[in-house]
């Protein structure tokens, strides 16, 4: 196969991987800070995706413009969800959390099915079918925009957690729950904030995803699983890890699809997951548990 095919596929894989990474970043915040196994992660993303579709089809608002508002809506959703429903489950065993979020996922998916119907929706912006050509390299325009946005949002998030006092407080909660209580931090509020931020991430990722894929109510579960694979591979508690994990998985799947049977390419992502779980459980960029 000629070299430019590999190049194009690899670049596409990296760009898509960046968006996956942003989605996983949301889970890293939720799982890393609040310690909740969010099995409704992909479903939350699908809410954002449908919002983007509705905004575009009804109000003709480009998803990239709606990025911030929709992320804000998801933030509110996540905040309310955490403080009202999920908070008591933080200390409960994983299977209880799992059931709670599975129930939520079922509700979300089927409400979306009732409201929007089963047909696939897409956002056909003017630039939806554009591509840039640089010699042998053909880059999908929407993927490029989505990838750049993912980096920007991740950078903003990183700055938030590093430099703002709230961000530092949230990290303190995550690192040392008791210590945070002792110091007098309002842990419940910080947990709700963290969940909200995680949801906002997933919302932003979802808006960008609508540029790349079509939305159906059932799109959630695939991405939930993918988010977990990426977070574990990249390393829990590391934001850069989530992005790196996303790129790694995106790239691996793309090249695997090219070199082997495309319908089996997910096996490689799971293979990487198993290897990471066994040999480097803290993930590629995660810190070893103290």
């Amino acid at each position: 196969m000629p070299f430019d095919v590999y190049l194009n596929v690899a670049v596409g894989g990296i760009l898509t991987g960046l968006v996956y990474g942003l989605m996983a970043l949301g889970l890293s915040v939720i799982f890393g800070v609040v310690r909740v196994v969010n099995f409704a992660h992909g479903e939350m993303m699908s809410i954002a995706m449908f919002l983007a579709v509705v905004c575009f089809s009804t109000f003709h608002l480009d998803p990239l413009i709606m990025l911030v508002p929709i992320a804000a809506v998801l933030f509110a959703f996540g905040y309310v969800l955490q403080s009202s429903l999920i908070n008591p489950f933080i200390t409960r065993p994983e299977h209880s959390q799992f059931l709670l979020l599975v129930a939520l996922a079922i509700i979300i998916v089927n409400v979306l099915l009732i409201v929007f119907g089963p047909d696939a929706r897409s956002v056909q912006t003017a630039y939806a079918l554009d591509s840039f050509q640089f010699g042998p390299l053909i880059v999908d325009a929407t993927k490029l925009y989505a990838g750049i946005d993912a980096i920007v949002v991740a950078a903003l998030l990183f700055a938030f957690f590093r430099f703002t006092s709230i961000g530092k407080a949230i990290r303190a909660c995550a690192d040392n729950y008791t210590g945070a209580l002792v110091v007098g931090l309002n842990v419940n509020r910080l947990y709700a904030l963290a969940f909200g931020i995680g949801a906002a991430c997933v919302g932003a990722a979802g808006v960008m995803m609508t540029l790349i894929v079509d939305v159906t109510p059932l799109i959630g579960p695939t991405y939930t699983l993918l988010a977990f694979v990426i977070v574990i591979t990249g390393g829990l508690g590391s934001m850069l890890g989530a992005l790196v994990g996303g790129v790694l998985i995106g790239l691996t799947e793309a090249l695997a699809g090219l070199l082997f049977t495309p319908s089996a390419k997910s096996m490689f992502a799971f293979g990487i997951l198993v290897l990471v779980l066994l040999f480097r459980p803290q993930g590629l960029l995660g810190k070893r548990a103290a």
Binding site: F31, V37, L85, P88, F89, R92, P93, E94, H95, S96, F98, L99, L100, V102, A103, L104, A105, I106, I107, V109, N110, V111, L113, I114, P118, P221, L225, F228, V229, I232, T261, S263, A264, S266, M267, F270, G271, L273, V274, L277, L278, F279, P281
Partner: protein, 342 residues
């Protein structure tokens, strides 16, 4: 001699169980035995579904409830066993019970591999759960490309006859399948009871409560966790054989898929993880809920695809929020039944 031995086992089983509990159990069993004569064919089909879920729920509960290991990829044992038994039947005409004897070791070995990899490398909690998902997905995609089982096109068992019941070949009308599943569920129930009361069960309890402390006390946690996963996998494998011969077709997506794994564990979680009766109660509640919702919506002339599932999800939510331990721990004392895991 046999009688004495049986009496001994029965005494051992019922040791510490109040007469009231036994009465309830006997009544339930009698009801279930008589069911096909009382209800119509549709309800027999529903009962088969309930017992299937109760059976797989009990098998899963051995790992989760007794040994505390969350498996979210349990469908892999169902799928492996189903495909093996079905393939042997299609290709060599081997009867399902012999096929089961061949499938059980394979499922157990699969459990052993997963357990070995996980426990040796210290993969626990959520990470263990994700690991089990990874293996199940591996199997799903793998079987979806395996030519000898027809890959994604599906494996179809020939349905030779249905006019008379042939339990040996698992061919017959729903009533026959019902009794097979009922027998399996009862045997699994007894097995769980024996396990809980045994030394293994005692060590499992210790590991579940605090693995570090158990290890400090000298319990070989690795060995007992391996027992849990291997036994759980072996018991689950029968469900795969049953599934293959009841539905007569197998698709990798359906049998290995994560929705199957999730369905399997909703029952025990709702009913009560770690309890003996929880999985059975959970199966009744969930299936009963789904079918009632369906009937209720139909009766009101409400034809909105997805509505039933929304109500279902809401009910699940209410139960898990209100009764975090499950329904059985809340219900049992009110029935005068005290179920102690010891």
């Amino acid at each position: 001699m046999m009688a004495a031995g049986t009496m001994g086992i029965v005494a051992h089983l019922t040791d510490g169980v109040s007469a009231r509990t036994l009465a309830w159990l006997a009544a339930l069993l009698a009801l279930l035995l008589a069911a096909p004569w009382i209800v119509n064919d549709y309800l027999v089909t529903v009962l088969i579904l309930i017992l299937y879920l109760a059976y797989t729920g009990q098998a899963w509960n051995i790992m989760m409830g007794f040994a505390g290991q969350l498996s979210l990829g349990h469908a892999i044992y169902v799928g492996l066993a189903g495909y093996i038994a079905a393939s042997l039947f299609i290709r060599f005409g081997i009867d399902p019970w012999l096929g089961f004897l061949a499938a059980l070791p394979v499922a157990a070995a699969c459990g052993a591999i997963i357990g070995f990899l996980a426990f040796r490398f210290g993969v626990t909690g959520v990470y263990f759960a994700i690991l089990t998902i990874a293996f199940a997905e591996f199997a799903r995609i793998g079987f979806g490309h395996l030519g000898i089982v027809n890959a994604a096109a599906g494996l179809f068992l020939p349905v030779a006859q249905y006019t008379h019941n042939d339990p040996w070949r698992l061919r017959g009308d729903p009533t026959m399948f019902y009794y097979v599943m009922l027998a399996a569920t009862v045997i699994a129930f007894i097995l769980c009871r024996l396990l809980i009361k045994s030394r293994i069960g005692y060590f499992w309890l210790a590991i579940r409560e605090d693995e570090e402390a158990a290890r400090a006390a000298g319990i070989d946690a690795f060995r007992y966790k391996m027992y849990a996963i291997v036994i759980s996998a072996a018991v689950t494998s029968f469900a795969g054989v049953f599934y293959a011969f009841f539905y007569n077709n197998l698709f990798p997506e359906q049998v290995f898929g994560i929705s199957g794994s999730i369905q399997m564990i909703l029952g025990p979680i709702i009913g009560g993880v770690g309890t003996l009766f929880g999985p059975i109660l959970g199966a009744f509640v969930l299936t009963g809920l789904a079918e009632s919702l369906n009937a209720a919506l139909a009766a009101f002339g409400f034809d909105l695809p997805g509505a039933e599932q929304v109500f279902y999800g809401v009910c699940l939510l209410i139960v898990v929020v209100a009764l975090p331990e499950g329904i059985w721990p809340w219900l049992a004392p009110r029935l005068g039944i005290s179920e102690r895991s010891q």
